[in-house]
Amino acid sequence: MTMQLQADAQPEAGTQLMKVRGMSMSYGFGASENKILEDLNLDVASGEFISIVGPSGVGKTTLLRCLSGLLRPKAGTIEVSGTVISGPHPDLAVVFQDYSRSLMPWMTTRDNVAFPLQGKGMGKVERNRVADENLAAVGLEGQGDKFPWEMSGGMQQRVAIARALAYNAKVLLMDEPFASVDAQTRFDLEDLVIKLKQELGVTILLVTHDIDEALYLADKVVVIAEKPATVVDEIITGFGEDRDQLATKADPRFADARARIMHRLRKD
C-alpha cells in the first residue's frame, strides 16, 4: 500500500527539515520598495503540522512562495534537509491557493497526479499505479479517468493534494487550500489532511487567515502580523492525535488560544 510506502520514506519524527533564518522579502526597488516580510525565523521538524496564520494581505502567499523556492528572498536563508535552497527543492511539494488553475485541464486527473513523476523519469505503468494509489488515499478511488473540469471544487482540491503526496516530498506547503469551498467540504478536507498527516507521516506547513482552521489542524500555530510582517507569536496547541470538529473546537484550550491569537492580531 501507498500508506506503508510513504510512511517508510519519511524521516524519523522530530528531525529538522526546514530552517528559516532572518528572511526578508520586498517587492520593487528603491523609493517604491514595498517591504512585505522582515526577519522571519521558522523551524519545521519532521512529522509536525504547522499552521501560519495572519490577516488577509499580510504576505502569506509571499511567504509560502519564498519557502517553496519560487521567489528569492531579499535577505536571509532557507535550509531544506540541511542545504540552503535557491529554487524549488524535491523535498518540497506545494498545494496552491489557486488550485483549480494549477491543475491542467487537458490532462485527466490521473495524468495530473502522475505528471511530476514523469518529470522525475518514472515509467508510465509505475507512475500511473502511484497516481491511482494516491487518488485513492484522498478519497478519489477510480476517478483517474475524469478531467478536473468534470469535478467539484472540493474534488479538484483533493486531486491537487494527491499530486503533492505522489511527488513524495518530505514537506507539504499549502496556501489557504480550503478558502474557496463551502463549509461542509472544508471540514471534510480538513479532516482528510489530518488523516493523511497521521497515516503517511508527512510534514505539513499550512498558511491560512482562518484562526479556527489554524488551531484545529496544527501542532504549532505561528502568528504573523504587522507591516512588514514578522512572527509575533507561537502557540503549541497540544490537542494530540484525535481531533474532532465539535469536541476539539469546544475544548477550553481552543477558546483560550483563539482569544490569544485574536488579541495579538487586533493589537497590531
Binding site: 512562495r65 517553496s68 523556492g69 519560487l70 529554487g87 524549488p88 524535491p90 518540497l92 511539494a93 506545494v94 496552491f96 489557486d98 488553475r101 494549477s102 491542467m104 485541464p105 487537458w106 490532462m107 505528471f115 511530476p116 514523469q118 518529470g119 478531467f147 473540469w149 468534470e150 499530486r163 511527488y167
Partner: protein
C-alpha cells in the same frame, strides 16, 4: 460559444435555400444578357463538373495541387508551431522579435514569386516554398499569442515540481497554446490551397491552376468555372474536417469555458 436554438433540420433547409437562391440569381443574371456572353450558366457549370469528375487529367491536376498545398502547409505548421512556442514562451525573445514578426506577416509573399521562380524554376518545389512562406505567418503569430498566455498557476506548478524543459514543452506549453495554434493552422490550410492555385495560374507550374488557365485559353469557360468551383468545394471540405479534429482535441477548452 452560444449555440443557435434552431433545430438542425430547419437549419439545413435554410442553408439549401440560400444556395438555391444564389444559383437562381446567377441564372437570372445570365438570362438577362447583361453579363459577357462567355460566362457559363448554372447548368453548363454542373455539366462541366460532371465532365471534370470523369477526366483523369482533372484528377491528376487536382491531386498534384492538393499535395503541394498540403506539403507547404505541413512544413509551415511544424516550423510555425515550433518557433512560435519558443518565441512566445521566452519573454526576451518575444520582445526582441515582435517587430520582425509584424513586418513578416504584412509582407506580400506573392510579390516574391518572380524571385523564387528565378531561383527554383516553375515547379512543385517552388510552389511548396511560396505556399509555406504564405502559411507560416498565421501559424507563427497565433502560436506566439497562445504561448504568451500561460496561466501563472500552471507556470508555478511546473516550477515547483521541477518539470524538465522538453516535457514542459510537449505536455504543458503545446496543449495550453493549442486553442490558438489550431486557429492558425486552420486559417493557413485555406491559404495553402488558395496560394497553390494562384501560383499555378501565374507561373504555369503543373496543377489545377494551370488547367484552369488552359481551359480559359481554349474558350472552355464552363470547364474553367467547373474546376474553380470544385476546387473551392474541396477546400471547404478540408476546412470542415479540420474543424472537426479541432473540436475533438479541444473538448477541455469548451468545457472549461462553460
Amino acid at each position: 460559444m452560444k449555440e443557435t436554438t434552431t433545430a438542425p433540420g430547419w437549419l439545413l433547409v435554410q442553408r439549401v435555400a440560400a444556395i438555391a437562391i444564389l444559383l437562381g440569381l446567377w441564372s437570372l443574371l445570365i438570362a438577362s444578357g447583361t453579363m459577357p456572353s462567355m460566362l457559363p450558366g448554372v447548368i453548363q457549370i454542373f455539366s462541366g463538373i460532371g465532365e471534370a469528375l470523369t477526366s483523369s487529367i482533372f484528377w491528376a491536376a487536382l491531386s498534384r495541387t492538393l499535395l503541394t498545398a498540403l506539403a507547404g502547409w505541413a512544413i509551415a505548421s511544424i516550423i510555425g508551431v515550433l518557433f512560435g512556442l519558443i518565441i512566445g514562451s521566452i519573454k526576451f525573445l518575444d520582445r526582441s522579435t515582435s517587430i520582425l514578426i509584424d513586418f513578416g506577416r504584412s509582407f506580400p509573399v506573392l510579390a516574391l514569386m518572380p524571385v523564387v521562380i528565378m531561383l527554383l524554376g516553375s515547379n512543385a518545389r517552388m510552389e511548396i516554398v511560396v505556399v509555406s512562406l504564405s502559411c507560416l505567418w498565421p501559424v507563427l503569430v497565433q502560436t506566439i499569442y497562445g504561448a504568451r498566455r500561460q496561466e501563472a498557476a500552471v507556470a508555478d506548478t511546473v516550477a515547483v515540481f521541477k518539470i524538465p524543459a522538453l516535457l514542459r514543452f510537449r505536455r504543458v506549453l503545446l496543449p495550453s497554446a493549442l486553442p490558438f495554434v489550431a486557429t492558425g493552422v486552420r486559417i493557413s490550410a485555406s491559404i495553402a490551397l488558395l496560394v497553390a492555385v494562384g501560383v499555378e495560374v501565374i507561373s504555369q507550374a503543373p496543377g489545377i491552376g494551370r488547367q484552369i488557365t488552359l481551359m480559359q485559353q481554349a474558350q472552355r469557360w464552363d470547364l474553367a468555372f467547373a474546376y474553380l468551383i470544385f476546387t473551392g468545394l474541396v477546400g471547404w471540405c478540408l476546412a470542415v474536417a479540420l474543424q472537426q479534429v479541432e473540436n475533438r482535441l479541444l473538448i477541455w477548452k469548451r468545457q472549461e469555458n462553460d
